[in-house]
């Protein structure tokens, strides 16, 4: 009898159930799972996700700016970098490589981030209004490391991809992709820790800064 057998057998006998897990047991579990039952959602989360998202960003220390069109992104990135006195070199996802970076003097490397890169530019699968959260799904051309390794993470969010709650984000993911990819990454603000004397310090192991560019 393997450890697996022993553990399952003990669970069964402790629960007062005879024998092994039956197909009926497994079918019942699958039936419940496919019902996709949602728990209660707080009232505030149901209204105006974009407005909520902006308010939550303030609470999380995520800076946020609205622009009209994707073509305005390189200019906003340049402005942000200048204001924060950062380097003009960025790595980023493939989908933004064709924007007019040269015009703003920014070097945009379309490749996954390494430990030496300081600014990472990503998009997101969707954003969640309730909590000011970005959902990034890892894939060959959308690596999570670009949002994680650099000190500064700039995320481009389209308003059309804003959903009210995490449940809605999962629904969208299931509708469009089916199953979660290997890396399903929810980001809410720059990294932080309060492990020393419960004093919050922004910038632990993940980025120090998260800047959202919201596209109408």
């Amino acid at each position: 009898m393997s450890a697996r057998d022993n553990i399952l057998a003990r669970i069964r006998s402790q629960s007062g159930k005879a024998g092994l897990t039956t197909n009926a047991d497994l079918e019942a579990v699958r039936a419940h799972i496919s019902s996709r039952e949602r728990g209660p959602v707080p009232t505030f989360a149901m209204h105006d996700p974009v407005q909520h998202f902006i308010e939550e960003c303030a609470r999380l220390s995520t800076t946020i700016v609205e622009v009209g069109d994707i073509s305005a992104v390189p200019l906003e990135v340049a402005r942000y970098i200048d204001r924060a006195s950062l380097q003009q070199r960025c790595v980023g996802w493939e989908e933004f490589a064709a924007l007019d970076w040269q015009g703003t003097g920014i070097q945009y490397d379309s490749r996954p981030a390494t430990g030496d890169d300081l600014i990472g530019i990503t998009g997101c699968f969707c954003a969640i209004g309730e909590t000011g959260t970005l959902l990034l799904l890892g894939a060959p051309n959308t690596p999570k490391s670009t949002a994680l390794l650099p000190e500064t993470h700039i995320c481009i969010v389209r308003k059309s991809r804003m959903v009210p709650t995490m449940e809605d984000a999962f629904q969208l993911m299931c509708d469009e992709i089916g199953e979660p990819p290997r890396a399903t990454f929810f980001v809410s603000g720059p990294s932080r820790t309060a492990d020393i004397e419960q004093t919050i310090v922004i910038g632990a192991h993940g980025p120090y800064r998260v800047h959202v560019i919201l596209i109408s």
Binding site: S2, A3, I7, I11, G16, I33, F170, D195, H205, G206
Partner: protein, 473 residues
């Protein structure tokens, strides 16, 4: 982790007199308690969410075998290897085996309470493998060679001066004075380890049956670096962590960070399903999930099964007036506070942790704040019942209860005894009406006087009043 729970009373005593700890406890109490209150106030249907979450966890615990099998099926389908471990030794041997088979020299690790239970680090280090804790609190404790004192904020008992001292010695750099600088230095020190590690070990806040996903909830980003960068990812998790669906995670994540420290959400929620896909630059080549029993099955189907609902938020200990005064180390094992008082006897034996379920006034604060409505005082009382039935308490306690039980059931005898006691004690109290010491209740009189009884019992005075009224009429 080594069990020190049998020394609870002595350790608690020294903690009460530990000035650095007392300052730390006061600070953290304010942050955690006030923080949670503010966080909960944002939610208009908090009680409904708690009720739903409790029943969701119950559904899983009552069908744990089926949910684990469904999780395993989906995890394997997505490319993970699933291992089962009945004991701590088995779990350590599995993880060590994975490391050795793959020529692993360095491991980075994110915080996992179950790995503290099984003492995984010791097993790996003993075999010559380098293990770096990356959660800042756990990193500090690794340097200090101390166990965690809290499940969410493991180094809450340390002052910044103590941390500065540790960093100066370990990093060979000038002593720092400010907390942001210390955090930055830790980040810099750990960076190269993150990037160079062969294997990453994480726990799992939950695992999702629907998708075969394991997940971590962190603020620092260390769990992400631990689970994304190395070529092997090993998740070690208790079997009770399984939840049915992604939606259920969305419910629980409304409760967990708020209950822990009042955050509306934690910075990084990292759901990991399977191995690096074709063409992906990120991600491990091998994904191992170790499902650990180590005593959890004892609770399944038992009168303490509610404890398995626990989502490890730490709210119970944060609000416990006993914990607030003595800190986590006094409890002597991985889990402090009310949840520790229930789990520690379960996992290490009541004979090794006898004082823990008694270290409570049953004030009920823990039950009020538990996001999944675990009736913690009732569970601690059940441990007291077991101790009573097994005659584990000291003789003096058992004798006192027996004697009290004998008298209190017999009204006439009780009346007689209490009249004597009231008079004697009133005499002892003297003019001050205070008793300064009384054999048998040293625990009280060491720190307090005992206000003396009035001298007669209510029952006798009332009987006399009735008799006088009868005489009048």
């Amino acid at each position: 982790m080594q069990v020190q729970s049998m020394h609870f009373k002595q350790t608690a005593s020294s903690k009460l007199n530990d000035a650095v700890l007392q300052t730390a406890l006061k600070k953290s109490k304010g942050k955690f308690v006030d923080g949670r209150a503010l966080g909960v106030a944002q939610i208009d249907n908090w009680e409904d969410i708690r009720t739903f979450a409790a029943s969701m966890r119950d559904r899983v615990i009552d069908n744990l075998d089926a949910y684990l099998l469904e999780f395993e099926r989906n995890a394997i389908r997505r490319g993970a290897e699933v291992h089962w471990a009945e004991t701590a030794e088995e779990a350590n041997s599995i993880v060590l085996g994975i490391a050795q088979r793959n020529g692993v020299k360095t491991i980075t690790k994110s915080k996992s309470m179950v790995t503290e239970e099984i003492a995984l680090n010791d097993a790996l280090i003993g075999a010559g493998i380098r293990v770096m804790e990356t959660d800042l609190g756990e990193y500090i404790l690794q340097l200090a060679e101390e166990p965690p004192s809290h499940i969410v904020a493991p180094a809450v008992h340390k002052s910044k001066e103590q941390v500065a001292e540790l960093f100066m010695k370990a990093h060979h750099k000038p002593r720092l004075t400010d907390i942001p600088a210390m955090t930055r230095e830790a980040r810099e020190q750990l960076r190269s380890h993150f990037l160079g590690a062969d294997m990453g070990i994480s726990g799992a806040n939950f695992v999702i049956a629907e998708t075969g996903t394991t997940l971590t909830v962190t603020n620092e980003g260390n769990a992400d670096l631990v689970t994304t960068l190395p070529r092997i990812h090993c998740v070690v998790t208790g079997i009770e962590k399984v939840i049915p669906t992604l939606e259920d995670f969305a419910t629980l994540i409304r409760l967990l960070p708020r209950s822990a420290i009042g955050q509306s959400i934690a910075n990084y929620l990292t759901l990991t399903t399977g191995v690096k896909a074709h063409g992906e630059s990120d991600g491990p080549e091998q994904m191992h999930i170790v499902l650990v029993d180590a005593g959890r099955t004892k609770l399944v189907g038992s009168d303490m099964k509610d404890m398995l609902r626990c989502i490890r938020c730490g709210a119970c200990m944060n609000h416990c007036p006993v914990y607030q005064n003595i800190g986590g180390h006094a409890y002597g094992w991985v889990y402090p506070g009310p949840m520790g008082s229930v789990l520690t006897p379960t996992y290490v034996g009541i004979e090794n942790a006898g004082d823990l379920p008694n270290a409570a006034t049953f004030c009920g604060e823990c039950q009020v704040v538990c996001p999944v409505k675990i009736p913690l005082p009732d569970l601690m009382r059940k441990w007291r019942e077991r101790q009573f039935d097994m005659q584990l308490r000291p003789f003096s306690e058992r004798a006192a209860i027996a004697m009290w039980g004998y008298f209190v059931k017999r009204p006439a005898l009780y009346s007689f005894a209490t009249r004597i006691a009231a008079r004697v004690a009133a005499l002892m109290g003297g003019r001050e009406k205070l008793i300064h010491s009384l054999p048998g209740i040293d625990g009280w009189t060491q720190g307090r006087d005992m206000p003396a009884p009035e001298g007669k019992t209510f029952r006798e005075m009332y009987a006399a009043r009735l008799a006088a009224q009868k005489v009048k009429t």
